[in-house]
Amino acid sequence: MGAFQGGLTYRQYRVNQHLPPQWQKKVQEGLSRHLAKEIDPSGDDERSVGWCNAHFALDTSISLEQCLYNEYVVIGVRIDTLVVPKRLLAVYCEREERRAMQELKKEVLSRYERAEIRDKVEETLRKKVLPTIKTAEVVWNWETGYVRFFSTSKGLNEEFVELFEESFGLTLTPEYAYTVAHDPSLGLSTELLKSLDTAEPTAFVDQDTLIDTLRGEL
């Protein structure tokens, strides 16, 4: 369901600013600063979000030049998550707790001892567990200012917007009925846009029809 093949499903955004004359340099810098990075298993980070090659998520040595397709910038967003599965953690913690109880000749461990075991087990398991990788393509038409993000997941969209705005110093407006109405390409008059702010839902059915239908239903 992406830009290159198959059906297309995406959220569309509009860049709020005009691009400066030297935009390529700025975008290249933003890309380089926010390239996707693998999570260090010996650290504490559980999540990492960055740019990658739209065709191959493990390629993070991208340059703007290779992402430019005429008026389109085509990049990938990669989100790595490194979390030890809860059930796995529980099983290994229990094993270590049993071992500790035997060694210490105790029937119950204190809360502190259990927490310490949990931290150690988690640290060890983090080095053995592989991160999950989610990716989605981004197609940015820098001429029209429309940006398509090929995922409809609310969480991924929020992370994408944050990454885009931080990387390029540009802000995005997501497309909703209200914001599309304000899209300059629609050319709606100021008067109509003003009435949009006060418009109320209208019933497409009149009272008599509704009552008759309800009576018929009963």
Partner: protein, 176 residues
């Protein structure tokens, strides 16, 4: 009111737009003249339709197969005050045909199937896909613009809404 409040407040326009498209499909035989270089298109509702009222706990009606917009059940749902919330739509222009699902909130097209592309693979295929996608987006926005120009005008209540209500009540389109 900040932007997110305004967005939330205007969400109802999505379902009204979709139901208006349904009305136009019947009133105009699905033909829309979008003017300019977009020209004429034909729009039809396909085999999937979801309807409900705006109430959160309201029962949702989902129709699958055949032509739901002409079914007695869908007409009944309209008469109960329900609006189209999700629909599979086909747009035809010349020999080109786009099929997609239109959703009301956020108002967006999903699962877009583009007209057949002759080029396979490479950058040319990508450019063709983007060209066809952007053309569809222009059509979609032109339709939404047509709707908003009526919906936000002073004539909405006096001229257009009575015709829509007549259509909902009788299933017949009033001669304009």
């Amino acid at each position: 009111m900040d932007l997110s409040d305004k967005i939330k407040r205007a969400e109802f326009l999505g379902a009204e737009f979709m139901t208006w498209l349904w009305y136009c499909e019947e009133a105009q035989g699905g033909i829309f003249d979008l003017g300019g270089d977009l020209g004429q298109i034909e729009l039809s509702f396909e085999d999937r339709l979801t309807m409900s009222t705006a109430a959160a706990d309201e029962q949702e009606d989902s129709f699958k197969g055949g032509r739901p917009t002409s079914s007695i059940e869908a007409r009944m749902a309209l008469r109960l005050g329900k609006l189209a919330r999700q629909a599979k739509i086909r747009i035809t222009q010349g020999e080109q045909e786009w099929i997609f699902t239109l959703r009301e909130a956020p108002l967006m097209m999903t699962a877009i199937k583009l007209p057949e592309i002759m080029t396979k693979g490479g950058q040319t295929q990508f450019f063709e896909r983007m060209f066809l996608l952007e053309h569809l987006e222009r059509i979609y926005k032109a339709l939404f613009q047509m709707f908003l120009e009526l919906r936000l005008s002073e004539e909405w209540r006096s001229d257009h809404l009575p015709m829509l209500r007549q259509w909902v009540a009788s299933g017949e389109v009033e001669e304009g």
